[in-house]
């Protein structure tokens, strides 16, 4: 018996020691809940929304957006001022003289050259390297380096040495310095020369991927792999204690899938701007748990509510019972893709190759019913791809209406008529319209939307349909290999220009999952690229949107995405401060939130307000 007790005593000691050694972090002035752990804190490798939100808090790009202004104006950040040449080709930035890194080093123009070069280098594997291709010869540099690495990989083992890799890298850097339109004229002056006038270049500069990293820190963690010749980075540099940032905050603790702690960067040049001095970020994967966690007061802001009962919460809010849920319009659109290639897998004729069929299918869908009765969470119906009123100076076309009669007429015009009276349309050869498969990834609401649309097609057009749910990875594979007829999709814009959406329709664009290829559209986009004057350029892009949305319909837009936040409003109906409420959230559809603008309302605010009355 004593022996058994001894075993348990030892186990208990192990348990107690492990629990005691785990020191919890202190509370922060602002705590937020994210849906997942950060993918990366390396700005050049970011592409997810919550990663970028972190970038805007720990790094500072040349410029930033005024996210409270109507036009999402560009305002100075790490650059105090800038000038643009008359031909719109050369941008000269003056770096803020007092800007410093979190270790006290001054922020230099050359830091931006280093960081942007890093984003372009194929070695870095940046998701967004093509955003940098508006810089003169940036694309050529990417290709130069990629060719270099290809050639190196083919060398015999004996010729792949650390020295050879270094030599190759030095050559690439020399090529970069000579040809790419990116130069530090002196410590504080950065000159960027563009390939061609790019109306949205400043907007790009505000984007997270354009944030600087601290070159000495990165260099200390980078080495050349003699095997592949490419630069490899030891990701250890991203960990607190090692990471050096130039933004308002610096991460001082990060525990995997648990929490990240941000503190005011002690050397930040403009600390007055930062409202909450400490921020804690907790990732909670499970949607229900994250709502419960918010309800028990774990956080001041739940940044991404995805539970099924969002609609019920919104209803409660409308009835005045629950103020904490907020639906915000975003810069994104939920749609279904048509496979636009001539043949389907297996060599069958693809009826959706004909734009008239695609338009007919689009017009047969009653989106209002889908949004109100199926999705039920207050989204705006989308008849266009680019969310209206999100880009200043861009006017959206009306889009295709819901018109089943016109849809049937279009389908008949395309040769699909019910010839044998069985309710299913046939072509001239008497072959019935193939059963339409709707491909989606399992685990979300897509099956319900697919079911609703399929029912409408059956009812209005007599089409038979079949749902095909697959695991995300398999769905993605099918999408890329065009092994589908109609598939769910979605897109969020990155920068304040229509091309952030329209480029998706370009022939052979990496994100063109539809295999859509139309010389008219390609020509319009090329024209826009060559047009320097903003207004005529916008008109061309408006035409491109009209053409794709109303005439060729490669996608069927259903709604413009909403994001759902949970936070207490900062003031009540009478304008009285609400202690515990959150101040500083931006409602602009571009939906960029700066953590340093946020602040939790305190009891003192209420006292001050009452004293002032």
């Amino acid at each position: 018996m004593q022996k058994i007790l001894a075993i348990f005593f030892i186990l208990f000691a192990i348990l107690a020691a492990t629990v005691m050694s785990d020191r919890p972090l202190p509370e922060a002035e602002l705590t937020i809940i994210n849906r997942t752990e950060f993918n990366t804190v390396d700005p050049q490798q970011m592409s997810y929304n919550h990663d970028l939100r972190l970038a805007y808090s720990i790094y500072e790009g040349l410029v930033r957006w005024d996210n409270e202004s109507e036009d999402f104006d560009i305002i100075p950040a790490a650059a105090r001022s800038w000038t643009v040449s008359d031909d719109y080709l050369t941008y000269t930035f003056e770096i803020e003289p007092t800007a410093k890194w979190s270790n006290g080093d001054p922020v230099l123009a050359s830091d931006f050259v280093y960081s942007w070069r890093r984003a372009i280098l194929p070695d870095t594997a940046a998701d967004y390297s093509n955003l940098f291709f508006s810089i003169r010869n940036a694309k050529a540099f990417f290709e130069f380096r990629a060719d270099q690495l290809d050639e190196y990989a083919d060398r015999p083992q004996a010729e792949r040495t650390p020295r050879a890799a270094q030599q190759l890298f030095d050559e690439a850097i020399a090529w970069f310095d000579e040809n790419v339109g990116l130069r530090a004229l002196n410590d504080k002056t950065l000159e960027v020369t563009l390939e061609r006038p790019t109306a949205f270049f400043l907007d790009l500069c505000a984007f997270g991927t354009f944030s600087p990293v601290h070159p000495p820190t990165l260099e200390a963690h980078t080495r050349l792999d003699p095997n592949t010749g490419s630069q490899q980075i030891n990701t250890d540099w991203t960990k607190p204690g090692k990471i050096v940032t130039n933004g308002p905050y610096v991460p001082t603790a990060w525990r995997f899938k648990r929490e990240m702690f941000l503190e005011l960067n002690p050397y930040y040049w403009n600390p007055g701007m930062v409202r909450a001095k400490t921020v804690k970020i907790r990732p909670i994967n499970d949607p229900n748990t994250s709502v419960l966690a918010y309800q028990t007061g774990l956080a001041d802001w739940n940044t991404d509510v995805t539970v099924d009962f969002v609609g019920d919460m919104l209803k409660e809010k409308a009835e005045g019972n629950f103020d904490d849920i907020h639906a915000l319009s975003t810069f994104g659109t939920y749609f279904w893709s048509f496979n636009c290639t001539p043949t389907l897998t297996g060599g069958r004729q693809n009826p959706f190759y004909d734009p008239r069929v695609r338009r007919a299918f689009s017009m047969a869908v009653d989106k209002t019913t889908i949004v109100e009765n199926v999705k039920r969470s207050g989204e705006k119906v989308a008849n266009v791809f680019i969310p209206p009123d999100s880009i200043p100076g861009f006017d959206s076309p009306p889009g295709l209406p819901h018109d089943p009669a016109a849809a049937r007429a279009l389908l008949a015009e395309a040769g699909w008529v019910d010839r044998d009276g069985d309710g299913v349309p046939e072509n001239e050869r008497g072959e019935p319209f193939p059963t339409v498969t709707l491909l989606y990834s399992t685990g979300a609401y897509h099956d319900k939307i697919g079911l609703a649309m399929g029912g409408m097609w059956k009812r209005e057009l007599g089409i038979n349909y079949k749902l095909e749910g697959k695991e995300l990875k398999v769905y993605k594979d099918d999408l890329k290999s065009r092994n589908y007829m109609i598939a769910r999709g979605g897109w969020f814009g990155d920068y304040g220009d229509p091309t952030t959406f329209l480029d998706l329709h370009k022939t052979d664009d990496g994100n063109n999952d539809r295999g859509y290829s139309d010389p008219v559209l390609d020509e319009l986009l090329a024209q826009a690229e060559d047009t320097a004057e903003p207004e005529p350029r916008m008109e061309i892009l408006e035409e491109a949107e009209r053409y794709t949305v109303m005439e060729t319909a490669p996608i069927l837009p259903v709604w413009h995405y909403n994001y759902y936040y949970l936070f207490q409003p900062p003031v009540d109906q009478d304008g009285r401060p609400n202690p515990g409420g959150l101040e500083g959230i931006s409602y602009h559809p571009r939906l960029v939130q700066y953590l340093w603008k946020l602040r939790v309302v305190t009891e003192e605010d209420l006292e001050t307000w009452e004293a002032a009355r």
Partner: protein
């Protein structure tokens, strides 16, 4: 005893190699691309090819061998022997994670294993306490109302899925009663609810084991002798019967502890606990090859070692066993 330990330790690498090979074959045949972003933007094709080449994702044989070379510490040793280029900075390098780009598999396991150990051990403690008490109640008065009651509770514990129990506990305690927390981990108060939901199936099994063992033992001759000598019923149960009835429980505790410690995906998800269990599911869904293999190998090692520990303890507690 020593020779038994040495023999078992000597087979360990062989077992791990077999497990690694099977895991590798299964993970490799998962559909989809390993390095692609599931949502969001895709890097240019040239970049994807370069990453695939860098991690040997284009060559299964090379990948298979390189992983052994890195994970066994051979790479580290060779680097140290050669001097000069020391590229390997950890001994047993389990590779990077594709989904969490800033974390290596080593770091992920180092961060999540202690969490799982705490949760798992706490759950096993609760399971042993609950299971022994329930089992004894049942054994002392077989087929009584109390026995039936514990049987029903045990059935519920085994059959109710933990996401139901977990969610009910979360709503009942932190949300309604304000006891405990939701979605955080670290304080002692954060441990009870998840450990309790994790312990239920184990407790139920232990209760049944204890009850069966105890009923057998209570009918044995030596117990009757002890009672005849005038030892009180309570003394007999706690001192003589429990000791023998506990042996089957002890042999069950080895694998049970290993399973509890590598966590339950569901309990971790519902209570948002940063443990190991989630990696099994997340990594497979995301085809995060290095994570799949890393956690599988670590789990296998723990399972094998704990079984060994239990066998050793078994002999120590009951010297009759050879």
């Amino acid at each position: 005893m020593i020779s038994m330990i040495l023999r078992r330790l000597a087979i360990l690498p062989v077992i791990l190699l077999v497990i690694y090979t099977v895991t590798f074959l299964l993970a490799w045949s998962l559909p989809g691309e390993a390095v692609i972003n599931d949502e969001g933007r895709q890097p240019p094709a040239a970049v994807l090819d370069a990453i695939n080449a860098q991690y040997n994702l284009d060559d299964p044989m090379e990948f298979y061998l390189q992983y052994i070379y890195n994970a066994t510490g051979a790479h580290w040793v060779v680097d140290r022997l050669n001097g000069g280029d020391v590229s390997q900075n950890v001994v047993f390098d389990l590779g990077p994670s594709f989904r969490n780009e800033n974390w290596s598999v080593n770091e992920i396991i180092a961060d999540s294993l202690p969490v799982s150990v705490v949760l798992g051990l706490s759950a096993i403690f609760m399971a042993v306490v609950i299971g022994l008490v329930a089992g004894m109640i049942g054994a002392v008065k077989p087929n009584s109302l109390a026995d039936l009651g514990t049987l029903v509770i045990a059935l519920v514990g085994i059959s109710l899925p933990s996401f139901v129990i977990g969610t009910v506990l979360l709503i009942a305690f932190p949300v309604w009663l304000g006891i405990g927390s939701v979605g955080k981990w670290g304080g002692i108060g954060d441990i009870f609810l998840p450990a309790f939901s994790l312990s239920l199936p184990f407790a139920a099994y232990i209760a049944r084991l204890t009850r069966m063992g105890m009923i057998d033992v209570l009918n044995a001759d030596y117990i009757r002798t002890a009672r005849a000598k005038g030892v009180s019923r309570r003394q007999v149960i706690l001192k003589h019967a429990l000791k023998n009835a506990f042996l089957p429980v002890l042999s069950y505790l080895g694998p049970a502890t290993a399973f509890a410690m590598t966590g339950s995906f569901v309990v971790e998800r519902v209570f948002n606990i940063p443990g190991m269990g989630q990696h099994f599911v997340d990594a497979v869904q995301g085809k995060d090859l290095f994570v799949i293999m890393g956690v599988t190998l670590v789990f296998a090692t723990i399972l094998i070692l704990l079984n060994l520990v239990v066998d050793v303890l078994y002999r120590w507690v009951d010297p009759r066993i050879e």
